[in-house]
Symmetry: C2
Subunit: 351 residues, 2 copies
Amino acid sequence: MKDTRTFSCWIGLISVILLASSCSREAKIDTPRPTFGIAIHGGAGAISRQSLKPEREAAFRAKLTEAVCTGHRVLQNGGTSIDAVEATIRILEDSPLFNAGKGAVFTSEGTNELDACIMDGRTLKAGAIAGVKHIKNPISLARLVMEKSRHVMMVGEGAEKFAFEQGIELIEQKYFFTQERWDSWQRAREREKQREKRPGTSSSLLEDDLGPDRKFGTVGAVALDKAGNLAAATSTGGTQNKRFGRVGDCPIVGAGTYANNRTCAVSATGTGEYFIRLNVAHDISALMEYGGSTLEQAAGTVIREKLTKLGGDGGIVAIDKNGLIATPFNTSGMWRAHALGQDAKAVVAVF
Amino acid sequence: MKDTRTFSCWIGLISVILLASSCSREAKIDTPRPTFGIAIHGGAGAISRQSLKPEREAAFRAKLTEAVCTGHRVLQNGGTSIDAVEATIRILEDSPLFNAGKGAVFTSEGTNELDACIMDGRTLKAGAIAGVKHIKNPISLARLVMEKSRHVMMVGEGAEKFAFEQGIELIEQKYFFTQERWDSWQRAREREKQREKRPGTSSSLLEDDLGPDRKFGTVGAVALDKAGNLAAATSTGGTQNKRFGRVGDCPIVGAGTYANNRTCAVSATGTGEYFIRLNVAHDISALMEYGGSTLEQAAGTVIREKLTKLGGDGGIVAIDKNGLIATPFNTSGMWRAHALGQDAKAVVAVF
């Protein structure tokens, strides 16, 4: 049994190495400074080297590689950054590994409620949805909100009514089900019950309880296309066991998602409330535009200093108008990948 | 009949002048630079001198004076800026004159759906609710979200469930009804029907139709207390005839509402989608913090230049950490008032 597992683990790792070697068939060495590129994340959190099983790591690396290479291919073929981030996020939404689309966490009601946001740095147009329950690919609905409505943000049943009018198929909740998320939710409820028995703790303080393996599986992508246009996209199932129609930072323009051709594109993952209060994504852009910071400096200041000081956890991926990226996080790990420039290699990392 | 109306109009104007003369019983001349103060708005839009009837103007001036003096009294008595903006907004929510609380506009479904947000500049804590239908004073629920939950933003039925758990009485929709808003909505629906008959116009482009008298009756307040702490609050019924669970800028931290002791407190009113895309409130703060702008410069740049260039309408009221205020708008009018410093006079303006 152990031999079989070790064998499958090695197969996984080898396939990842092959996949990760290049988004193109022929990788080149010493490519010039990238004029286009993409960076993505698959969530940040308390990921430990000890608890991360090799086959699970291999699965994450393979899916992130597939996603980043899909977006990179769009860019390399002359496509727009908006198309690139949407195509990338759809792959991550379809994967049960991440807390977005298929595999979203469960709310306190046992439902799956999804949020997404997309923003175009050229026009500053944006589309966001929150609390939808029957949309397979929330990021594509967010894009429709951006392109086919006068509005920026729609929530709940109203957003689904708009989706229906736009010809999007509404799916049943059972599509989002995974045994892993269900079991995790059951454990969270059990912990909640235990704590409710203790005096002095109110149930409203026990929301978004992810337990000891606290990880935010939000997915995000930022891209710069050959025309110099930036875009950002984020999609999430929110926090496990969430109550009260809670909306996190993901669908809030300027908090979890932001793109502006003058500066950068940013997508965030973490304890959303802190990202909202700090306007994390817009703050990074503003530090660059008004404070003269580089992307690296601005992103570092906001995540490592401001977010940490306020008590928030998480990270961001960002790309600036010159194709430079920054991926700071203040948790032990953040799943991330990038592919920059012609015939780029996909680079995947977690710690 | 005409004489009676002229008489009541004069009575109204005289009472306004008496009310507006001072928030305190004894006004002083040459007061020192204000160390505390409050500024409020009651919406911006296409308000024309010709169409504004004297008795209506008198009613607006009287209510804005009452509201700003209430907030000012809290501050003068040593209360916090958070208490001041909440008390002020509650008065405006209770008045049928404004599009918040009683007198909110109707959605495409014939319902009233309310949004509100409050933010504390000292802690950067914030609370926001969107799409609630049974809350008399949404701003007080937003404050409970800020103080009694782990979350920043709650929407729809979830937010009302939280309200119920917190002991807030849920009221029936009929409380919000006013004949004026109902008639206005009927006219908007009629215009919508007329336009639907024309080819080439989709119904989804006809939302938030306020007709020729386009006015945004959102209410907002910003305050600096004697301890040097800033706060901002905004409350609205959103846009008339809105569809699809649309959420505007009011409940979005950094868009319609923002407060930060390092810079300023801002509350906005206008075409919310543009305020979201520009992160109006946070952008003003960032221009001050990183760009070295004064509040006057920062607010002017964002409203008169950026917002106008993007095609958005509206305005903001803001107060900085030194008690200076700015109230720029790019519409023909914005209802606003302020009262700054010890024994301050209430100053009310519209054009």
